[in-house]
Amino acid sequence: MAFLDFRGGSGRVQIVSKRRATCGRHSWSPRVGACVRRTHLVRKRALLGGSNKPRLHVGSGAMEGAMQTESKIRADSRTEPGPRGPGCSLRHFACEQNLLSRPDGSASFLQGDTSVLAGVYGPAEVKISKEIFNKATLEVILRPKTGLPGVAEKSRERLIRNTCEAVVLGALHPRTSITVVLQVVSDAGSLLACCLNAACMALVDAGVPMRALFCGVTCALDSDGTLMLDPTAKQEKEARAVLTFALDSVERKLLMSTTKGLYSDAELQQCLAAAQTASTHVFRFYRESLQRRYSKS
């Protein structure tokens, strides 16, 4: 019995072994019904463009004229280095995919100075204690930049995991595990939103089936009620309230929300509307980034 192992980038099929018996790291797993590498389920992977294709896609958060909503959104006029252009409300963002060789999918997402690296392993073998009979078990591990992970990281992991569970089609891979590992490289505000974006890009890179894409947007409200999208660390500290939303790409529905500080119901609706508009730009960036990566020209 032969199993085929496609390695992305080479463009050739390589038959690894014609026997059931082990060949180094592979062994038969009767439960899954296939030959399984202990951390890797063998599956067909679409042949990706060669490794000489550009992997880095840089986009800017320019929102030309689209932000004509009623809310008081401040056109950025900060004097910090790397300013956002006039009329922009999101910081400059960039994404790089497939940069790590060991995980099945990896992505690095940059928003201004905030940078998060994500790696996805899956669908892979799952511990019997954690397995779910009819869908995949999703696990998220978030590592802070310094220090050991604490209770705040656990809380964020739960938020990211539940968001991913809502979009990943786990029913297609029952009794397997999909692990998303996030490493904070630098934190300059809007960290949770950046983690969500990196996780989404990494899941896409790994080829995990999803019903929609999702993105994270952060809003900050300062003491006089002005709304700021994608705040920096300094703006977050001075703000009266910071709201982070995760929105899906199909109908811009609210998947996840976590807030800090006091605000009124009307302000919540205002922030949600602004976040929905901003998410259009993030999804457009995702689309361009992926089109550029998979195009043959």
């Binding site: 539940n162 809502a166 899906d248 109908e251 529905k253 609210l254 998947l255 006091l262």
Partner: protein, 251 residues
């Protein structure tokens, strides 16, 4: 979309634990949470020398549900502890400056232990009610710093209640595919739901926390309905809490 109105806090007792400085017991249907608050001395943080600490800890033991094992706190307990810490921080339920005795040297540290005795869903609501009731019950003795010996002298005969500025009330919903929203879900409903949402509101209608940890999507209109339901619930709970405190005998 249809609503399903479930249980109000059926029973609330305060001051039941004699050894704690403040305590309360809350029953929400079958979910039972007991909160005990101990006040101890501590040094204030260096970056905020005139503030005290409030340290919440939610303990979900094997007693309350078969899902939990003994040992270090599991994920649900840690998430609940973080949620309570966020509610305390965001709603400014007590001014941390009130807990300071001597700036830079001595402050009160309030250790809030929330122990779940029976977990039948909606643990976040029950913990918030229990914490609020226990904080209203806390009596701190008067402390003076003796200038000669630089030691603190505690006067146990003179105690005063904490100044509770706001009354945050949590309302949880179980979401089923954006068509059905159930208020105050039981454990079975939570398990079957496709998502959950918790709204913490104070008496002025200001939101302290909108906790939606993933799950199926919600439109803005549905969210608006949840807010109005949360306002009604706040009124109901506040009425119950006022009754309980009126009936409490002053010490």
């Amino acid at each position: 979309m249809s609503w399903c109105i479930k249980n109000l806090p059926a029973m609330q007792e305060t001051g039941s634990i004699g050894t704690a400085d403040g305590s309360s017991l809350v029953k929400l249907g079958n979910t039972t949470v007991i909160c005990g608050i101990k006040a101890e001395f501590g040094a204030p943080p260096t970056d905020a020398p005139d503030k005290g600490y409030v340290v919440p800890n939610v303990d979900l033991s094997p007693l309350c549900s078969w899902r939990f094992r003994s040992g270090p706190p599991g994920e649900e307990a840690q998430v609940a502890s973080q949620f309570i810490a966020d509610v305390i921080e965001n709603s400014q339920i007590i001014q941390k400056e009130d807990l300071c005795i001597s700036s830079g040297k001595l402050a009160w540290v309030l250790y809030c232990d929330l122990i779940c005795l029976n977990h039948d869903g909606n643990i976040l609501d029950a913990c918030t009610f229990a914490l609020l009731a226990a904080l209203k019950n806390v009596q701190l003795p008067e402390v003076t710093i003796n200038e000669e010996t630089a030691l603190a002298e505690v006067n146990l005969k003179k105690k005063s209640y904490l100044n509770i500025r706001t009354h945050p009330v949590a309302t949880s919903f179980a979401v089923f595919d954006d068509t059905l929203l159930i208020v105050d879900p039981t454990e079975e409903e939570e398990h079957l739901a496709t998502g959950t949402l918790t709204v913490v509101m104070d008496e002025e209608g200001k939101l302290c926390c909108l906790h939606k940890p993933g799950g199926s999507g919600l439109t803005g209109a549905k969210l608006q309905d949840c807010m109005s339901r949360a306002v009604t619930r706040h009124k109901e709970v506040k009425k119950l809490m006022d009754e309980v405190f009126k009936s409490m005998k002053p010490k």
